[in-house]
Amino acid sequence: MTPAMSISHRPRLSLGPVSYYWPASALRDFYRRIADTAVDVVYLGETVCAKRRSFNVDDWLEIAAALEGIGKEVVLSSLTLIEAASEIGGVERLCANSRFAVEANDMAAVELLARRDGGIPFVAGASLNIYNPRTLAVLASQGMSRWLPPVEMHRDLVAAMIDAVPPGVETEVFAYGRLPLAWSARCFTARAHDLPKDQCGFRCLDDPDGLLMTTREGRPFLVANGVQTQSALTHNLLAEVPDMISLGIDVLRISPQSRRVWDVIDAFDRMRDGQLPVDAARTTLDGLMPSGPCNGYWYGDAGMTPPVLDDAHL
């Protein structure tokens, strides 16, 4: 692969929902800053824990309107694990909004959206487990307009899926961020602090990038983010952007983190325009990843596998 390859297709950049619990002021500052970046699509909303209420629905809609007003595409993301009646109520309200598209992160949201007015378009989140073309076709028939592969899906399978994507359906790939790996009824942040879940004291406010769990020999391993478990390593496909362009991926997703995400966005922006050499791309974000990089999933390896620094993969 040469850096000078012609770029016939310029993917859009998206910013995923903030997966952590940040105070309202931090969220406002963050999105003010995001307004000036090159991201084309912004996903908004609480996808992890319904108890987190820095923002209410009106706050989110206000940010959504502001971002839309400056030309960003806005999508509202739904809660991923639905347990309580109040949580399904929240998803119902989200799916009933008539202004913004919705990212469905659970089949309940798909059902609610597909039932509404004969079906309205939605983005199928990575947690919907779309692993084959027939699943793509079924969900497209229900109104899916864009889909994300499961984060564990490797390059060659993503390529095979893109060959089979129904007309009018876009493909978005999780390209940067700590990987969402699991959800539970149990809150691992509360557990780390030896607190019951219903008296958690909102301790996840203490950890703007989640709570690091290492192995007993000190290797960064996982991150507790409330009921969600993430990878400690940051999945970083910046150097794979030319490859992703060649596959025809429509949207590249960057997952928010507390450290200078605008610099991450800028690096992806330069990369999609061929202005950042692949060699530089391998190291340019090194200082921004709290526990270092991984990219094994893209190459069909264990997800935690770190990038290979020679060109063995290419």
Binding site: M107, N129, A182
Partner: protein
């Protein structure tokens, strides 16, 4: 309530049938089911014998084809569906939407159950599979409280099945990639969590260590019971201490909750453990059959017999049991 028992091979199936199963669930010998372990599961002819054995005794057989069909191996999954249908199973347990679509088209009369791997935790999610594919039953992930199960069962268009006993996934089934993050293979794609060939044991001066693809899952003192290094049941370090950061190595046991599960509208209790021995299946089957019969006869007066609890506790991981998501501290 139905009692649904696991069978990883023919002797286990026979044990389940003999000791009180309403239905037995099985898988084929490949990555199309979520217990893809060496030496486990059924060839076509073994399945045929098992089904005949069960049907002769009035017991149903369910086939789990409950991993996610991979784009580069699609025909393995459709063959598993066709084979199960041709063998005359009483229902297919599926998670994959594409595969469900295939099964509905090719075998329109075959009963479909939504697997726990389908991650459906609400009546709305279940309604999708019912509306689109006509599923008849959904197995709920082990993350809901009793009140939540009651609400889902009341609003669900189909029967509800829940896990009653066995190994416990602390994560929502179908949405856990911890194993593929560490080993490249996950329940979704490969049908196994923390696969055995990635496990290494080592004696060190600090104690016996278990590793999964090089990652230290736990280290045991001389007096400590060393369990299989399922990675969510390892000890890790956070907040200045080493502890079971995700879950203790304990088994789910909901025998005490039987009356509440029945009152909540649950139609079937599922026992985990296709990887376990025929003796295990026989013992769990006997206890749960006794308990279900006693509950049916005694109603309000139902009490868990000490000998049931004792028998089950000998089978549990680390000899500990838990109510899992039914524990208040989880909610």
């Amino acid at each position: 309530m139905d009692l649904i028992l696991p069978a990883g091979n023919l002797p286990s199936l026979k044990a389940a049938v003999e000791h009180g199963a309403s239905a037995v669930y099985i898988g084929f010998r490949d990555d199309t089911n979520a217990r893809h372990f060496g030496g486990l599961n059924f060839t076509g002819s073994q399945a045929a014998r098992g089904i005949a054995h069960a049907h002769d005794r009035g017991v149903r057989v369910l086939a789990a084809v409950n991993t996610y069909a991979q784009a580069d191996g699609w025909s393995r999954w459709t063959h598993a569906v066709d084979r199960a249908a041709d063998l005359g199973v009483d229902a297919l347990i599926l998670a994959d939407i594409g595969l469900m679509d295939y099964a509905r088209e090719r075998h329109p009369d075959l009963r479909l159950h939504l697997s726990v791997q389908g991650s459906a935790t609400s009546a709305e999610a279940i309604a999708f599979y019912h509306r689109r594919f006509g599923i008849r039953r959904a197995v709920l992930p082990r993350v809901l409280s009793l009140a939540q199960i009651r609400r889902v069962a009341r609003a669900s268009p189909v029967e509800i099945e829940v896990f009653g006993f066995g190994s416990l996934c602390v994560m929502v089934e179908g949405r856990c990639l911890l194993s593929s993050y560490v080993t490249g293979r996950s329940p979704n794609t490969f049908g196994a969590c923390s696969p055995a060939d990635a496990v290494r044991w080592k004696e060190t001066p600090e104690g016996r260590e278990s590793r999964l693809n090089g990652v230290l899952i736990d280290r045991y003192g001389p007096q400590e019971h060393a369990g299989y290094p399922t990675l969510c049941k390892g000890r890790f370090h956070a907040c200045d201490r080493d502890y079971y950061a995700l879950e203790e190595p304990a088994s789910l046991n909901t025998l005490d909750l039987l009356p509440q599960l029945d009152a909540a509208g649950v139609q079937a209790i599922k026992i985990e453990g296709r990887q376990r021995s025929p003796a295990y299946v026989a013992l769990v089957a006997r206890v749960w059959r006794d308990a279900l019969d006693a509950h049916a006869n005694e109603g309000q007066g139902f009490k868990v017999r000490p000998q049931w609890a004792q028998a089950l506790s000998t089978l549990s991981e680390g000899a500990q049991t838990t109510f899992g998501a039914y524990e208040r501290s989880w909610q």
